[in-house]
């Protein structure tokens, strides 16, 4: 009974919930693509200029896509009473929460990482930048999902939480975005990019260890009403 309520069960259920609405699976990918085309439209089509800002733009986009989809992470579970059922279940909630976050990453962070070479192409990213950018995104979006889940847990009991969530989570994203875009930037400039990537990895490790615990206690706190 307990094993069934664990990591894999939640992962499977959330993926199934997301998959039920077929339009939704592809949309993080498309959002990413679409938002990236806005930049040249609003700024400049000049490849020379775009090249410089490409990694930064891609990271800002990754961040916004994660945030946009995060507010529904716990919202529907809260409204229909599933969250309450989770909270009064006997086992520790850490694994279920990690399962939910993984499902979120699999449907935002991972597709975004996979589509990033295409964005690099659109924004004339130099060839040296592709591999580090993908590595950085793969690791960094994990952190993004975990932090977004924390924000979602904090705002779950508020009706209109999505903007508030952004406010809470954004400051926490600062270091990730700095090191993330640095990873690509370093390799473009010919420097060793393992440094910022290692820092990202360390942040991910800490986030995996601490965030689920924090999320669980925050959920216990905010859903009491």
């Amino acid at each position: 009974m307990i094993s069934n309520m664990g990591f894999l069960a939640f992962l499977r259920r959330d993926l199934r919930l997301i998959n039920r609405r077929r339009g939704e699976v592809a949309s993080p990918l498309i959002f990413f693509l679409m938002a990236a085309t806005f930049v040249p439209l609003g700024i400049t089509p000049d490849a020379e200029l775009l090249k410089n800002i490409a990694p930064g733009i891609i990271w800002v986009m990754a961040l916004l896509a994660t945030l946009l989809s995060a507010d529904s992470l716990f919202a529907s579970d809260y409204q229909d009473g599933s969250l309450e059922q989770m909270l009064i279940s006997p086992q520790l909630l850490v694994m279920p929460v990690l399962g939910k976050v993984t499902a979120h990453w699999l449907t935002t962070g991972l597709p975004l990482t996979l589509v990033s070479p295409l964005l690099g192409l659109l924004l004339s990213l130099p060839t040296a930048g592709y591999l580090p950018m993908m590595a950085g995104l793969a690791v960094g979006t994990g952190c993004l999902s975990l932090l977004a889940a924390l924000g979602a847990a904090l705002t779950v009991s508020l009706q209109k939480g999505s903007l508030l969530l952004t406010l809470i989570v954004m400051p926490l994203y600062m270091p990730i975005i700095i090191f993330g875009s640095a990873t690509a930037q370093y390799s473009i400039e010919g420097l060793a990019w393992s440094g910022p990537l290692a820092i990202l990895g360390a942040m991910l490790a800490v986030a995996i260890a601490l965030c689920p615990l924090a999320i669980v206690s925050v959920l216990r706190l905010t859903t009491i009403n």
């Binding site: 339009g23 592809a26 498309i30 439209l41 089509p45 490849a47 192409l121």
Partner: protein, 256 residues
Amino acid sequence: MNWNWNWFYRMGSPRWFYESTSRWLPWLGALTVLLLASGLVWGLAFAPQDAKQGNSFRIIYLHVPASFLALAGYFLMAAAGAIGLIWKMKLSYMVMKCAAPLGAVLTFLALFTGAVWGKPTWGSYWVWDARVTSMLILLFLYMGVLALQYAFDSKDVANKASAILALVGTVNIPIIYKSVDWWFTLHQPATISFTEAPSMHPDMFQPLLVMILGFYCFYAVALILSVRVEILSRERKTSWVRGLVKQATHKNLGAE
């Protein structure tokens, strides 16, 4: 007045569509194969090399027809949606639904061939040229319609909602084309635009015409085929589809 509209409503009947297309689809299919095969062979093997671009220009035989149809396909889709909204015709919704993925694929093909062509001619796969940008936006419009179509579980609501979105998109397409054009001229001197097509040598142009015709036929065939599949799945409970199924299994058994 009545006799005047009869054909129109009969045309709206899925069964009529299915049965009449059964008759002339093979002919259209044969014509498509003929046109595409001859156009390809002519264009790829016999047309002269381009003076500046060498053999890489031959991708034009895919690129230009795909681009044409991508745009035309959107208007067809929106028109089908409008007919569905106004005359509540099931068939035209089916046409709209099937035109969306087809158009999206063609748009993608145009983008892809353009990008591949861009590497030898522009030196990079992607350039923010006006027409290229508006093509990308067209792809997004297609994707919006597709996503909306599949997001609703009620087929009726899905049809109407994506028809409305397609219509809003058609209002926007000219605006988008104009604004992107204008934006392009604002930002960039026309170094690598292809707005003025170099007047092509007739030996290059004739196979292109054949290919464009072939693509139109191909589009028609693909659309009709997928509409027929859609009809069968939607009308599977009706007696005439059941009859068809019975006939088909009978034939299969007879063959064995």
